[in-house]
Structures are given as C-alpha cells and as structure tokens.
C-alpha cells in the first residue's frame, strides 16, 4: 500500500496525466451511443439507443420519469453493462472498460460529496486517484474552486454547505481531473427554483469558459434543456423519440410526443394536406382553412396535426387568415401573463397573452390567429408511438 502511495506522488507518473488534459482537450471528446441496449432481467430499459454528442457540445436528454435517461448516462459512465451495442468516448470503445478507466466527470442529483472529507479534499479526490503530484493538486484545487465560486469554502465539510454550494463543489470535483466528458444527471433537481435558475446561468457560463467540454445533461425539465443544450434528445420508454437542434426541435417537433413534451404545444387535428410550395401547406381544421409550415414534407391529402405554441396565438378582430374561434373555458392571471383555455371544435386549446386590462370572460366566444410561418405540421404518430 505504502509503495503505491509513493509511486502516486512521483511527478513522473503525474505529469502525463495533467499535461495530456490541457492540449489534447482542444479537440474535445465525442460521446457515441451505437445501438446500445440495456436490460434488467426481462425488462429492456434502453432499446437500440443511438446518439452522438459532438466534441464541445451540450446535449440534453429529456423525457418523463422512467424513460431511461439515467440508464443511458450510466451506460456512458460504466455502471450498467449494455446487453448490446457500443459506447464510444472520442475514438475509444469504452463499452467494456471499467468506470475508473473512462476519464469522465460525473455530477448527480444528490451531489454525493464525500461527507468525511473537506471541500478541498473532495475536489482533490480525482486528482489523487489519477496519481497527480502534490504540487499539481495544490495548484489545481483552488483553480477549480474558483471556477465555481467556492474558494472561501475550501476548509468546510459538505454538511456545512447549502444544497447549491454542495452542487458547486460536486461540479468542481468532477472537473478537477480535466475530463473531456462531463455527465450530469438532474444536477439541479434537488435545488429550489430560484437557486436552480442561477445555477443554470452558471452552468452556461462554465461551458463558455470550458468550450471543449463535451456534456451529456440528463433532465426532466425542458427549460433547463432549452437554456443549456445545443441539441436535445427526447426519450420515452427507453427509446429516442426525437433528436435535433434545440431551436429546430422546439419549432418543428417531428412527432406528437416531442411537441407535447417540449413546450406543451397545442396539437390541432387537421386534414387534407395541400402543399403550396417547398415550405408551406394548406390544411383543413373543421370548416376553416389554415396554412402552416410543412417542415416534415407531409404528403398531399394526408391527415396530421398542426403544432401551435400557446404564445403563438394573437387575438384577431376581423377574419384574418389562420384564424380560429372558440368558447373560453378558463382565464388565469399569472402576473406577467394571462393563461387562457378555449374550446375550438371540441379541442381544448391553451394560449398565453400579455396581461390584459379586460380579459375575456368564461363562456365568451373569441377569435384568435397565428402566423403561418411560426407553426408546423406534425405527423400523427399514434401508429408507431
């Protein structure tokens, strides 16, 4: 044992580790899932999962509880063995590598700080495990604590810190050995709303400071995903239901589940798609004709859904194009917005509007319209959902 300790402290062993992290990190590390399946007994919780996180990117995995997000992340970390497929970090196939050989940083929901170690020892843990020299540790630990704004807490024990502070330490601890890949599993879920908001800003800033860090961010909170991620993957029942750039996924969801999960879209059932040009198409909603983006190139004459975000609706006075009308079901004032639901041809539709002095009353008939360029036709996916 003492021999190991002595070896670990020699700068000769430590040097390549720290040195390699700095310049090599400039090209970052890709995370690749290739047809990864995970089963627990007879239960398959990840079905042939394929996803790539490009170097320096933040990809958020979102989905309801139990959809397999944590399982996917743990497969990268090495805590679940895939029953099929491959996992790549950079060009390395890590599928059968032990967790301690994968060189990843990991942050979990409950922080999991080591309770009997001071903050600085927590942060130094990964460096020591990698055999870094004492003078390297002395330099790196304050650096990491400064990065998360925890410099003055180095001597504290975890129990002497608030939740937000503990999570900062957990992030510093994960980043100390300069991993190229950072895995975050619901890192903000245990924090209250206000702190969550500010931590989200800090995570975004952290990634601006470490632009080469590849991040896989698991959350059930779509606003975290939209704020942080370049790309978002939406999961359900162990399958990737949708994947795309955050904005494009929000604006042009490829299916009903993606539209509803990301941003709680209204999905009005429409019929008889009539493409107008490359981009736009006309559809029928009851006895009105609406136009929308045909982003997914739906075929002439088919039935589908039109995806309208609650904030895309405007009150219309005369019969403007893309106008629908309905009976007000509820009106709710929320300070900076009014939330209104109305019944349009049997569909309950949600809209938000700037606060009004005279909001519509329940039972009143209102007419609203939307900008055709802002809404997208979405294929009905009940058959293959």
């Amino acid at each position: 044992m003492s021999q190991v300790t002595v070896m670990e402290r020699t700068p000769h062993i430590a040097k390549p580790f720290v040195a390699s992290a700095a310049p090599a990190a400039s090209d970052g590390s890709r995370i690749g899932f290739e047809n990864v399946s995970v089963t627990y007994g007879a239960l398959t919780v990840l079905h042939s999962f394929t996803l790539t996180v490009n170097p320096g990117e933040i990809v958020a995995l979102i989905g309801p509880s139990g959809s397999g997000k944590t399982t996917a992340l743990r497969a990268v970390a090495g805590f679940v063995r895939p029953s099929g497929g491959r996992i790549l970090i950079g060009d390395r196939d890590v599928t059968h590598l032990a967790p301690y050989d994968r060189k990843i940083g990991m942050v979990v929901q409950n922080y999991a700080l080591f309770p009997h170690m001071r903050v600085e020892e927590n942060v130094a843990f990964g460096l020591r495990a990698h055999g870094a020299a004492e003078d390297v540790i002395k330099k790196r630990v304050p650096e990491c604590l400064a990065m998360v704004g925890m410099s003055t807490y180095a001597k504290r024990y975890p129990r002497e810190l608030s939740g937000g502070q503990q999570q900062r330490v957990a992030i510093a601890r994960a980043l100390a050995p300069k991993p190229q890949v950072l895995l975050l599993d619901e890192p903000l879920s245990a924090l209250d709303a206000q702190i969550r908001r500010s931590m989200l800003d800090e995570l975004a800033k952290l990634h601006r400071d470490l632009p080469n860090l590849t991040v896989l961010y698991v959350t059930h909170d779509q606003s975290e995903a939209l704020t942080l991620a370049n790309h978002i993957g939406i999961m359900r029942d162990g399958k990737l239901k949708a994947f795309g750039g955050s904005q494009s996924l929000f604006r042009h969801p490829p299916n009903r589940f993606a539209a509803e999960f990301l941003g709680r879209a209204n999905l009005l059932p429409v019929t008889d798609v009539q493409p107008l040009d490359e981009q736009m198409a006309k559809v029928r909603f009851g006895d009105v004709t609406l136009s929308a983006r045909n982003h997914h190139g739906l075929a002439r004459g088919s039935d589908c859904l039109v995806c309208v975000r609650p904030h895309d609706f405007r009150f219309s006075r005369a019969s403007e194009p893309n106008s629908i009308s309905g009976t007000v079901l509820s009106v709710q004032w929320q300070g900076d917005v009014h939330n209104i639901t109305f019944d349009a041809g049997g569909e309950t539709v949600r809209m938000t509007s700037a606060p009004m002095a005279n909001p519509p009353r329940i039972g009143e008939i209102i007419a609203v319209h939307f900008d055709a360029a802002e809404v997208t036709l979405v294929p009905e996916d009940a058959s293959h959902g």
């Binding site: 990991m106 495990a129 024990y157 601890r173 050995p177």
Partner: protein
C-alpha cells in the same frame, strides 16, 4: 409574575417523574449492586477488611498468566473479528452474488446460537479425534493427529472469532446499506479503483460501526467463559476460568472474588472506553452519513 409561574410549573411534574426511576433502581439494586457488593466485600477477606489477599493474588503468577491470556486472546480475537467481519461484510454488501441476502440472514442466525455450540463443532472438525485429523491420519497413515492448534491459545482465538465476527458484521452491514451508492459511483468515475474506494469512502464511513462492534467484541471476549472451557486447552487459563476454578474447584472464595473484582474493573474500563468512542465518533459523525 408570569415568569415565576412558568418557572414554577415544571417543578412538581419533575418530582412525580423522578419517582419512575425508583422501580428500576430497586430491581438493579437487588439483582446487581447487592451481589456485586458482596463480591467486593468478600474480596477484602472474611474478617477485618484488608488488602492482603489482593496483594497476594495480584502478584501470583497464575493470576498474571490469566490476565495475560485474557488480554492477548481478547485483543487478538477482536482484531481478527474486525478484519474478517469487514472483509465478509464488504463481500456481502458490495459484490453482487446470488445468495448475498441469505448470507446476511445467516449472520443473525449465528448470533442467536449459544457460543459453546461453535466450539463443539470445532472439536468435531479440528479436534484430535475430529474429522480433519482422522482424514489426514487415514490418508497419510499417521499415528498421531497432525493438527493440534485447537488446544492452544490459537484454538480459542479462532473459535471466538467464529462466534463474534457476526457481532461486527451486523452494525457494519447496517452502515453499508446507508452508504450512498452514488458516492461510490462518483469516486469510481473520478478514477478510484475498488481498493481506494474501500480505504477512502467505505472505511471512514464504517469507523463508528467498527469502533462500536469492536468494543462490544472486546467486552464479550474478555468475559468469555464457555468457549475457553469447552476448548479445554491445558495452558490457556483466562480470568473467568480462573475465577471458576478458584470458586468451584478450590473453594477459595476470597481469591475468586479478588479476581472477579479485577475482571469487573477491566470490563467497566473497556465499557467506558466504548462509551467514549461512541460519543466521539457518534457525535462527530452525526448527520454525516
């Protein structure tokens, strides 16, 4: 005025409450303090109280030998229990193998068995006419049993380890189940191999359980009687055995009582250490795990 009323209020309740201590005290007095007092009294001789017997006994080689064996056996057995218990608990708690749950339950069963039973089983297996020796003698055509560690200090230590290791494992397994799995996983993702995780994460979290279990073990082994008697090694005389032979075989009650007093003092000393350790670790680590 109001303050006086508030201050006065708890007083009568306190007096009624304090009455509840009387019955347990009474029972304790009859069952414990009185007999203990008799032993202490008897240790000072039958007539005028004197320390003469104390001097005599404490200087005698039989007593010193007994004290030596008691301490060596207790300390070795406890150390053995701690090491064995820690390793076995680690395996049961962290190495996924079929039957790990069963193994955990078996621990409780061993605790429930009378201590001499294990010794008896030991005799059947390792004794001079036991399974192992018979087999070896048969296979290698030997005249004498080749294995005779059982009738020595080592036999006693091994038997005590077998009996008392579960007493270490139980608090340990309870502690292990409270260790956050995420801590172990994070440590592993930070590059820590299993041995480092055991040393730096699991062991520190287990210290209170090890100290508590170890102290209990030490107490029990210092006072162990049945196992030593059943092994029946000629040269291995411990204090409890010495008390027994003085009182029951030699009718030397004064000497027996002197040794008993020493034994009680030893036990109480260990118990105080145990309380101190619990207070230290329990207090410092409270709310940590």
């Amino acid at each position: 005025m109001a303050e006086a009323a508030i201050a006065a209020a708890p007083a009568p309740r306190l007096r009624v409450d304090s009455l509840w201590i009387a019955p347990p005290l009474l029972i304790l007095a009859v069952l414990f303090f009185y007999p203990l007092g008799l032993i202490v009294r008897a240790s000072f001789g039958e007539d005028a109280p004197s320390l003469a017997t104390f001097e005599q006994v404490l200087m005698s080689s039989r007593f010193l030998d007994g004290l030596y064996h008691t301490i060596v056996i207790a300390v070795s057995a406890t150390a053995g229990c701690l090491v064995l218990g820690f390793i076995l608990s680690l395996i049961i708690a962290f190495v996924p193998f079929p039957g790990a749950k069963m193994a955990g339950r078996l621990i409780d069963t061993v605790i429930a068995l009378p201590t001499f039973l294990v010794t008896l089983a030991f005799t059947f297996i390792y004794g001079s006419a036991g399974l192992l020796n018979e087999t070896l003698m048969h296979v290698f055509s030997l005249d004498l049993p080749p294995i005779d560690f059982l009738y020595s200090q080592w036999g006693v230590i091994l038997a005590e380890m077998t009996v008392y290791t579960p007493f270490i494992m139980r608090p340990l397994l309870a502690t292990f189940s409270t260790i956050d799995q995420a801590q172990i996983e994070v440590a592993s993702s930070l590059g820590a191999r299993p041995l480092r995780i055991v040393r730096q994460i699991i062991l520190p979290a287990s210290l209170p359980a090890l100290v508590a279990g170890g102290s209990l073990c030490l107490l029990l082994t210092v006072n162990e009687f049945g196992i030593v008697l059943f092994i029946g090694a000629k040269d291995v005389i411990t204090l409890p055995l010495l008390i027994y032979s003085k009182a029951i075989q030699e009718f030397d009650y004064t000497t027996a009582c002197v040794i008993a007093v020493v034994n009680v003092v030893l036990s109480l000393g260990l118990y105080s250490l145990y309380r101190l350790a619990i207070a230290h670790f329990g207090g410092r680590r409270a709310g940590l795990v």
